[in-house]
């Protein structure tokens, strides 16, 4: 882990992070991504609900998987982006509040999609195994990840200066990278010693060619959605930080005139 840099004053927001016009977070690029997301989701609905066949054993419940796999993919990617952005913030040569905002925006999206994943997953589990929850290592560490990043977001909301928020939350994000594999490994070891078999043995899905393609459509559509959300959310956070800085300018004026009264 790189040693954190003592914060350098960085109050101006990079121009790239706050688009002209001030009130909008959209650019030509995000609009293109947004359009592609809509098309992708439409295609997913068509493929997932109509074109792809029902599974031999799981019948129509297999269609939940297109959502489930898409959301879990986004959540994992989002948390990976949070970890990498946090490392980039803490690394002296790349330190910038932009990384911190990417980390925060990505974690928010990750938590949202992790919640959807757990929801869709337990519904599917109820339909295919008759239970909402199994003590599988992957399922359990996913739930831990969800709680851990809720904690990460709580740390982000603690207040203080932008630099303090960034440093503190980046360290917490990197500690989460230590925690998650340990939890996963320990749950795996735990289940391994019991007679209960893991999900993989009992949930064998025979993937039809069209099903595989629908899954692929889901991954693309959800990835586009992630990028679209991330860009917008990151810009909103940049605007909030810029607003704080503007507020600081105003507060400075107020503060200076205090003594004159």
């Amino acid at each position: 882990m790189p040693t954190p840099k003592s914060p350098t004053p960085e109050t101006s927001t990079p121009a790239s992070a706050a688009p002209a016009g001030g009130a909008s977070t959209g650019t030509a690029f995000t609009r293109a991504i947004g359009l592609a997301t809509i098309i992708g989701m439409g295609a997913l609905a068509v493929f997932g609900l109509f074109i792809s066949p029902a599974d031999v054993r799981q019948s129509d419940s297999v269609r939940i998987l297109y959502i489930h796999v898409g959301t879990v993919w986004v959540a994992y990617v989002a948390f990976a982006v949070t970890a990498l952005s946090s490392a980039a913030y803490l690394w002296k040569r790349t330190t910038s509040l932009t990384w911190d905002r990417f980390a925060g925006a990505s974690a928010e999206i990750g938590v949202l999609f992790m919640a959807l994943t757990l929801l869709a997953g337990s519904l599917w589990g109820r339909l295919s195994w008759g239970k909402f929850w199994v003590w599988d290592a992957r399922v359990t560490s996913t739930a831990f990840m969800f709680i851990t990043y809720i904690g990460y977001l709580a740390v982000r909301g603690l207040g203080g200066s932008h630099q303090q928020r960034a440093r503190r939350s980046a360290v917490v994000a990197l500690l989460a990278v230590l925690e998650i594999p340990l939890v996963h490994f320990s749950v795996k070891l735990w289940r391994g010693l019991h007679q209960d078999s893991s999900v993989a043995d009992r949930t064998h899905v025979t993937l039809h060619g069209l099903m595989l393609f629908s899954l692929f459509v889901a991954l693309v559509a959800f990835s586009l959605l992630y990028v679209w959300l991330l860009m917008h959310r990151q810009r909103v956070l940049a605007m909030q930080d810029a607003l704080d800085d503007k507020g600081l300018d105003y507060a400075l004026q107020q503060r200076r005139s205090e003594g004159d009264a």
Binding site: M1, T3, P4, L90, F144, I147, T148, I150, G151, A154, V155, L158, G159, G160, Q164, R167, R168, V171, V172, L174, L175, L178, E179, L182, V183, F185, S186, V187, L189, W190, L193
Partner: protein
């Protein structure tokens, strides 16, 4: 760093010897938790089967209290600020407070284990003693290291009482699993053999190594303004 760590650990332990807060408040709390578990489970057989898990669960609950206490000592009269202002190496503060916490935890765990023997009829066996001691040492170090780390983060902020459990409990899950399984193996609970326990001690050792290094690096940035 080690000089600072020794200084801080000695200071924390001396404060505990004088104030007896842990002895007089946390130990009775842990004991009553053990009694409450028996009420909830309502079966001698079940309680004796899950005794190792209950010992570690009670340890985790007490850990939260111990960590709060450890940092309440510092924040009561602005000593956290004074430590930072004195330019004391944060890694030394971290290790020192973790050592003091580990000593207090160790005492607590011994009491909990003995209460499991008395209340839950858990059986100690000679062949498992080495495993049992190793497990307790490793788990205690792990809990003290992460407890101090997240305790330091939560100490300086509003809402610290509620933030600490949210951050700390998910992280110590591997310790709960590992220490419980290893303790079961050492006691022979549910027919486990001593050999079953050593992989879990390995897990605990990895945990201690990772969070020992990670915590030493991370503590400074976490407590800094």
């Amino acid at each position: 760093m080690l000089r600072v760590a020794r200084l801080l650990a000695a200071k924390d332990l001396r404060i505990e010897l004088r104030s007896r807060v842990v002895t007089n408040q946390v130990l009775p709390f842990a004991a009553i938790v053990m009694v409450m578990f028996a009420f909830a489970l309502n079966s001698d057989a079940v309680v004796s089967r899950v005794a190792p898990g209950l010992v570690w669960l009670a340890t985790l609950f007490s850990l939260l209290t111990l960590v709060q206490r450890s940092f309440a000592i510092e924040s009561a009269d602005g000593a956290t600020d004074a430590l930072r202002a004195a330019g004391v190496d944060p890694a030394g503060i971290y290790l020192g407070k973790a050592i003091a916490l580990a000593v207090q935890l160790a005492v607590l765990e011994v009491v909990l284990l003995l209460s499991a023997v008395v209340l839950y009829r858990a059986q100690l066996r000679l062949s498992g003693v080495v495993l049992l001691v190793t497990t307790f040492v490793a788990a205690t170090c792990g809990l003290a290291l992460v407890g101090t780390l997240y305790g330091g983060l939560a100490a300086g902020v509003r809402g610290r009482e509620t933030l600490l459990p949210l951050l700390l409990l998910p992280v110590v899950a591997p310790v709960l699993i590992g220490a419980t399984r290893a303790t079961e193996a050492a006691l022979g609970t549910g027919g486990a053999t001593v050999a079953d326990g050593w992989p879990w001690v390995g897990l605990l050792a990895v945990f201690v190594a990772l969070f020992g290094v990670g915590g030493t690096l991370a503590f400074g940035p976490l407590i800094e303004e």
